[in-house]
Amino acid sequence: MSAKDRSKEGSMKAITANRLRDGEVVFLGEGGRWVESFAEAALFPRAEADDVLAPAKEKAEREQFAVDIYTFEVVEQDGVPVPATMRERIRTAGPTVRLDLGKQSLGKQAA
């Protein structure tokens, strides 16, 4: 997939953070609930993501739930949504050099 395809209009975004108490990577899921697996992350049209981000960030910070809360781009690959950048792919799966560690090791997550 080329970089151009990734920035195509119409791509989706997801919202992520690190959980405060343990640093675990979390995603905003349906209904404002935070989930650990990217497969359960809610996807938002590009144009709307920032509007969802602001209140979710405010709430998560107020409740001391998460830090470093931001949106990232998601593209479709073989019909499955995947993070557009290597950085976010690694966050959703785990280190590429230790497949026995991170979310990928739990079998929940297609890397």
Partner: protein
């Protein structure tokens, strides 16, 4: 004030009650700070600098905790504790870094006070591993054992630890401050890429003292440290350093993080003016208050008294028999074992760079084994090197073969110290939140490509160093071949530099050409090696010497010709 604790081993500094109490108080303080953060009394903005002052970073998958190994020397007991913590709170391994520290990658904030408490039980902590303070001082991993030693670097590193910890003047510097000390003729501590690098030297009268290099550093703007004073007497060592830090504190740029390191100050002020300022400050400081009291120095020196070496012949029959009978062992001896100052002893480097492995990573089982081996063969102490390996510094030649067999059985017997397989790599994008590209997979691919020990020895001394971003934690600027990960519109690319040198003849490498992909990078490294082998005048001409002689052209042609 200082004392040798019961059961103390030679070579390890033992904290006195003041140190212990201080560390214990800091742990309790941090426990409360974590509680206040979790309950919301502290915001993230307020808490972040506090956690950084305790070595705790937020990385991609979890928190990362950086544990100080003061001047890279620790006891078997301490290593066992690091292993126990890795098992209990992390994922069964740790990463030894170029700053002679250990990092855990999967730490929970809520566990951190308990971890720090457990560390304090063995006089360890995470202080001065982060933040704009004088960082953990590094030194020669062969300290106390090397044949070419002038002074014992541990003594001065320990003086600095005592002097800088909680020193209010040096806890809020314009930026982080890294000091390296080499007490020997040769520089095994990369002193000239540090903010201050000290090199032990004798003056005309034969008195030992230090040369001061200032303003070295890597990162975004790499600089080689400049010689500010040829020789400073040992008793003036603290005063001279204090003078440097004062000038830095006064003039250092606090307004711009990219210009805040002392290297920029030295560069902008000019060496002459900077030196003049330091000398003036030094003249003001010099006096009884800052002169190192010989009694205190002797007290510290006693902690590092040589271990009880046996009187042995330098030649070992057992060693020679093993060398003759086992080629793999003979190879390891030739590559990983260095001369010791005591007859009949040797210095053994334990490579944490198996072919295809992750540079600097050690499993907790490996740590336990090394702790056992350190106890059995090296007076219960070991060192971490700035190239991410471990060292057992005092091994009897008679016992080297036994040691190697056990190391080899645990995947720790790689014979590649200083060779092409001995790659430095930072955590890169697999772990690090600041990364642009991954470093580890490239290191793995290169070390696998050059796995053959015979080929490695044929190539000879050649350091490859890889960083995942311009912060240069992997020292790529001073790699004979350096590799910097860059991001080009979402794809990982690698920029290759050649001609870097971390030793006394320090040099920053030059960019060879446009950045290449990961696969191309491995082929490019191989091409560079082939060009070197084809061009070297003889086997004793090192890669960087050939490069200096023939220039970049033949290398460039080979790599970029196909385009």
């Amino acid at each position: 004030m200082n004392h040798i604790a019961p059961g103390a081993r030679a070579g390890i500094y033992h904290y006195d009650e003041i140190d212990r109490q201080f560390v214990a108080e800091r742990v309790e303080q941090f426990r409360k700070q974590v509680d206040r953060r979790l309950s919301g009394e502290l915001t993230e903005e307020e808490f972040k600098p506090i956690r950084l002052m305790n070595g705790l970073y937020l990385q991609l998958h979890a928190y990362m905790l950086r544990i100080a190994v003061p001047y890279g020397v620790m006891s078997a007991t301490q290593l066992r504790k690091l292993s126990a913590i890795g098992r209990k709170y992390d994922r069964g391994y740790g990463h030894f870094t170029t700053r002679q520290n250990l990092q855990y990658n999967w730490i929970k904030l809520e566990d951190t006070p308990a971890i720090l408490h457990e560390l304090a039980e063995v006089d360890m902590h995470a202080l001065q591993t982060s933040g704009n303070c004088v960082r953990n001082v590094t030194t020669d991993p062969f300290v106390g054992a090397a044949r070419d030693e002038v002074v014992d670097g541990r003594v001065y590193a320990e003086i600095l630890r005592q002097w800088t910890t909680m020193h209010p003047e040096f806890t809020y510097l314009p930026r982080k401050f890294k000091i390296a000390i080499s007490g020997a003729e040769s520089d095994r501590a990369a002193v000239r890429i540090h903010d201050v690098g000290l090199l032990a030297r004798r003056n005309d009268k034969g008195e030992p003292g230090f040369s001061f290099y200032v303003g070295g550093g890597l990162g975004r703007s790499p600089f080689v440290g400049k010689l500010v004073r040829e020789w400073v007497a040992q008793e003036d060592f603290v005063a001279y350093l204090e003078a440097i830090l004062r000038v830095y504190n006064q003039y250092g740029r606090r307004d711009n993080i990219y210009k805040a390191r002392i290297k920029i100050l030295v560069h902008e002020l000019g060496l002459e003016k900077f030196t003049q300022e330091v000398e003036e400050e030094f003249a003001r400081l010099r006096g009884p208050k800052y002169r190192l009291d010989p009694e205190i120095v002797d007290g510290i020196r006693q902690h590092f008294a040589p271990p009880p070496f046996e009187e042995l012949p330098d030649h070992s029959e057992a060693l020679e028999r093993a060398r003759a009978s086992n080629p793999a062992f003979a190879n390891w001896l030739a590559v990983n074992v260095a001369e010791h100052k005591a007859p009949g002893y040797a210095i053994a480097t334990i490579s944490l760079k198996p072919a295809g492995g992750i540079p600097g990573d050690a499993t907790c089982d490996q740590m336990d084994l090394v702790a056992d081996l350190a106890e059995r063969y090296s007076f219960g102490e070991l060192r971490v090197t700035h190239v991410q390996n471990l060292v057992l510094a005092h091994v009897k030649k008679d016992e080297l073969y036994d040691l190697w067999k056990q190391l080899d059985a645990a995947g720790l017997g790689s014979a590649n110290a200083g060779l092409i397989g001995d790659i430095i790599a930072c955590p890169g994008l697999d772990y690090c939140a600041l990364a642009n590209a991954r470093s580890i997979p490239l290191a793995q691919a290169i070390s696998a490509r050059f796995a053959d020990p015979v080929r490695q020895r044929t190539i000879g001394e050649l350091g490859i160093k890889i960083s995942g971003c311009i912060n240069a934690c992997g020292h790529h600027h001073v790699g004979a071949i350096g590799i910097l990960g860059v991001d080009k519109k979402g794809t990982e690319y690698y920029q290759i530099t050649v001609g870097g040198d971390p030793t006394l003849t320090t040099a920053i490498g030059d960019i060879l050409g446009p950045a290449v992909t990961e696969t191309e990078a491995v082929d490019a490294i191989e091409a560079i090696v082939d060009v070197y082998l084809a061009n070297r005048s003889d086997e004793s001409e090192r890669f960087i010497d050939t490069l200096a002689r023939v220039g970049h052209a033949p290398f460039k042609e080979r790599i970029y010709a196909a385009d």
